[in-house]
């Protein structure tokens, strides 16, 4: 019964935003000029004035002692991503009650992290930074860059899902089959991503996972030696090219 009403309520439609307590946009930079590579990832508050972008770019270049050509590139990249974010901002997205799996698979300096857990999309109080902080604390990670990286990875995935739900909302409106069908349509379209709530949270099942599934959802953290880092780096670059 509940699932019916959940899908059908008008609460489904919310204005586009990152579904966390702070509406922060994840920005990723990957700029190469004259053989010099600059990669970075951080969160940006979209309500900051755009003039801040240039200021930020300049400061970054100054702090990291990069050649000044980077300034414009950085600023441009940030601006592009921001604009893209803003283009979604006026629109509606279907959130409803969705629990999505988030996967982490990243390397930060010497630390490798692989993880898999569930995240509730319509929990607008959720906080990826808090999650990242607890993660690092529990796993005893000392590298201070890991936490933010985790938070950004989560945000990116949430961002993507939010974008998807905007497009699916648009499509369902365009669809000729009407409101009901539209909901079913959207549910099935993104259903692959979302977790079957009834199956997992319904009365017949337990919310305690079976033991054999525990290591699927267990975080994996590893510290690499320098050679392994180099090897991985090389492989990543090959992939990108």
């Amino acid at each position: 019964m509940k699932s019916h009403s959940a899908w059908g309520t008008s609460k489904n439609l919310v204005k586009f935003r990152i579904p966390t307590s702070d509406n922060l946009v994840p920005i990723r930079l990957d700029i190469e000029i004259d053989g010099q590579r600059f990669r970075d990832a951080f969160t940006w508050n979209p309500s900051d004035p755009d003039s801040e972008v240039v200021v930020f770019a300049k400061r970054t270049v100054k702090d990291l002692k990069l050649p000044p050509a980077f300034v414009t590139q950085i600023a441009q990249s940030i601006q592009t991503q921001l604009t893209e974010f803003r283009s979604y901002e006026g629109q509606d997205m279907y959130i409803g009650e969705r629990v999505v799996p988030i996967k982490l698979d990243l390397r930060v300096n010497h630390t490798i992290i692989k993880d898999h857990f569930l995240w509730e999309l319509n929990n607008f109080e959720s906080d990826p930074e808090e999650f990242a902080r607890i993660f690092c604390k529990d796993m005893g990670i000392e590298d201070p860059e890991v936490g933010p990286a985790i938070a950004i990875a989560i945000r990116e995935q949430l961002y993507e899902i939010a974008v998807q739900s905007v497009t699916s909302a648009k499509e369902s409106r365009l669809s000729k089959k009407g409101r009901r069908a539209g909901e079913i349509f959207s549910a099935s379209k993104t259903g692959g991503n979302a977790v079957d709530l009834v199956k997992l949270f319904g009365n017949k099942s337990s919310v305690i996972r079976k033991r054999k599934e525990w290591d699927v959802y267990e975080p994996f953290v590893d510290l690499l030696s320098n050679e392994e880092v180099e090897a991985l780096k090389a492989r990543e670059e090959r992939n990108i090219r």
């Binding site: 509940k2 699932s3 959940a6 009650e97 629990v99 857990f117 569930l118 995240w119 509730e120 929990n123 109080e125 959720s126 906080d127 808090e130 999650f131 607890i134 993660f135 604390k137 529990d138 796993m139 709530l197 009834v198 997992l200 949270f201 319904g202 009365n203 337990s206 919310v207 305690i208 996972r209 033991r211 525990w214 290591d215 959802y217 267990e218 975080p219």
Partner: protein, 573 residues
């Protein structure tokens, strides 16, 4: 709470969490984690919450000594990680998980006092979790409140001050351990019981064996005995004694003339000995205890001295400290005086100046009368008030006295406060502080100059570190006392509240019972009426039958009344 599993292990849980039970979900849980209980989502329900909670706690209890991390549990639970984390934090905050671990990690202040039980809700200290708001019971962090020195048995309050009086009552006028003289915390019956007995004994008339009231006659020859007035007049002399042999003693008029010298003596000794009526009576040799007291009351300012004694009784029942403030002060002065060989009157005058009394009577009083300010029951307020009302010296000596009193109770503070040098050090440090404050400028400088220089000689060689430690220990004990007092008050409040609740519930019950009774009575009435009406009905039916019978007998033709009879028979059936 103790959970007995097969190996009969027990788990420690703070007493504030004794609402927890495996089979139920408590209001606290419903309130803090209300998203599980408002039906807002299929992913959250009471059943789900219970599963999360039980799993997490069981997981923790698999190994209570290690700190359970959130990451460990979240892999095993299906659900949004933020919500899971909320449940986890909730359980951690209430000490249902990671409780002992925190304690052990924070160092062994308690000397192994790690286990707490929730019996009766009385606890010893629980460390406050840094940065978290937590209800604490018991004395604050770092202060240990135990029943007896070096025992592990916790108590919630300081031992009652009767122990102080026991020490003090060791002997009236006896010099205690540190040269303190403990004036007896005596009740009326203690002081005057024997007196009363004496008088009673003495006043039994020989012949009629009754108590003689005011006047009795004493036979002064061999084996004196007394006769009451009546017997004397009636000539009941016994054994041929003549009237001359009897001396009239008017017990109601004994020794009531006070000369000036006696009065002076009396006042001096009262100031010296305070409440100690035996000593006072000794000093004023010619007068008995009762006489002294009554004379004192008659004097214009005398009852001030007596009156202020009673006011202090109020503080006695909660801690011994505050009463020690006054009495310790007196006792300290006493020893101070005895140490010096000076003219007594000059001494007294000096004191008056020292303490900055502005007594208009010209006689320095040992006691100041405090207004009955105890509208506030806050101990610290009272202490602050008292200490502002008296001079700094007094406060210093009072603090010493308090510390010494506590030394009797607690072994470790005795270690901190080295008994031999307690006077010198604390006094010197107190004086130093006061000089810095310079609140009473010339008083301190003028009178104390000569005295201080003697004292500060030895004390200047003392470690300042020791003094610091003692200071801290002293403040810690003071705070502990205040905390214990506060707890006591809180307990009182709670009990009162419970009482009132009980009364309310009782009245409600009574109301309900009355209602029920009323309804019962109504029912009875209704039944009676019912019976009555049934009888009526029957009689009516019988009447009808009668009529019909007669009609029949009279032979009225049937078909005339056929129609009407048919209906009647129909209805009669």
């Amino acid at each position: 709470m103790e959970k007995n599993c097969q190996e009969l292990e027990s788990y420690s849980v703070p007493s504030s969490s004794n609402w927890f039970s495996w089979s139920n979900i408590h209001e606290v849980e419903r309130f803090s984690l209300r998203e599980f209980f408002d039906g807002s989502s299929i992913t959250r329900s009471p059943r789900i919450y219970k599963e999360y909670r039980d799993f997490i706690i069981s997981k923790y209890r698999e190994d209570p000594s290690r700190k359970l991390t959130f990451t460990e549990v979240r892999k095993s639970l299906v659900g949004d990680v933020s919500i899971l984390h909320k449940v986890f934090t909730f359980l951690e905050k209430w000490g249902l998980i990671n409780f002992d671990v925190k304690r052990n990690n924070e160092g062994d202040n308690c000397n192994g006092n790690g286990k707490t039980t929730s019996v009766g809700g009385e606890e010893e200290e629980e460390e406050s979790w840094k940065g978290r708001v937590k209800l604490e019971e018991g004395a604050p962090y770092g202060v240990r409140v135990v029943a007896a020195p070096n025992s592990m048995k916790p108590v919630a309050q300081l031992p009652p001050p009767t122990s102080v009086s026991v020490d003090g009552g060791r002997g009236i006028g006896e010099v205690g351990h540190n040269g303190f003289k403990w004036p007896p915390l005596a009740s009326y019956s203690d002081v005057f019981a024997d007196l009363a007995q004496q008088e009673k004994k003495g006043l039994v008339c020989r012949s009629c064996k009754e108590n003689c009231d005011s006047m009795h006659y004493e036979y002064t020859k061999e084996g004196s005995f007394i006769l009451c007035e009546k017997c004397f007049k009636s000539g009941n002399y016994e054994e041929n004694n003549s009237a001359d042999d009897f001396k009239l003693i008017n017990s109601g008029n004994q020794n009531n003339v006070w000369t000036e010298a006696e009065t002076l003596h009396l006042l001096e000794s009262v100031l010296k000995h305070g409440d100690d009526w035996d000593l006072v009576a000794q000093d004023v040799q010619t007068k008995s205890k009762m006489d002294c007291i009554s004379k004192l009351m008659e004097l214009p300012f005398g009852d001030r001295m007596l009156g202020s004694a009673q006011r202090k009784r109020k503080f006695l029942d909660l801690t011994g400290d505050v009463s020690n403030l006054k009495q310790g002060k007196l006792a300290f002065k006493e020893s101070q005086e005895s140490a010096k060989v000076e003219d007594p009157s000059h001494e007294l005058k000096d004191e008056g100046q020292q303490n900055g009394y502005t007594d208009t009577e010209g006689q320095p009083l040992k006691r100041i009368r405090m207004e009955p300010t105890s509208n506030t029951t806050y101990l610290m307020n009272q202490v602050a008030r008292i200490s502002t009302a008296v001079g700094p010296h007094v406060t210093a000596s009072a603090a010493e006295a308090a510390v010494t009193a506590l030394c009797y109770e607690n072994q470790c503070s005795r270690e901190v406060f080295d008994e031999d040098n307690i006077f010198v050090d604390l006094k010197a440090s107190a004086e130093n502080i006061e000089q810095k404050r310079a609140a009473q400028g010339n008083l301190l400088d003028g009178d104390e100059g000569p005295k201080q220089s003697e004292i500060q000689g030895p004390s200047s060689e003392k470690d300042t570190i020791q003094i610091n430690l003692r200071m801290r220990a002293a403040t810690a004990t003071a705070l502990g006392a205040a905390a214990a007092h506060a707890k006591y008050l809180a307990d009182q409040e709670e009990r009162r509240m419970e009482q009132l609740m009980a009364i309310m519930i009782e009245t409600q019950m009574k109301k309900l019972k009355r209602k029920m009774k009323y309804f019962d009575e109504l029912e009875l009435i209704m039944e009676k009426e019912n019976a009555h009406i049934e009888e009526l009905e029957e009689s009516l039916v019988a009447d009808r039958l009668n009529v019909l019978q007669r009609i029949f007998n009279a032979g009225i033709s049937r078909w005339k009344d056929h129609a009407s009879m048919k209906s009647e028979t129909g209805s009669v059936q």
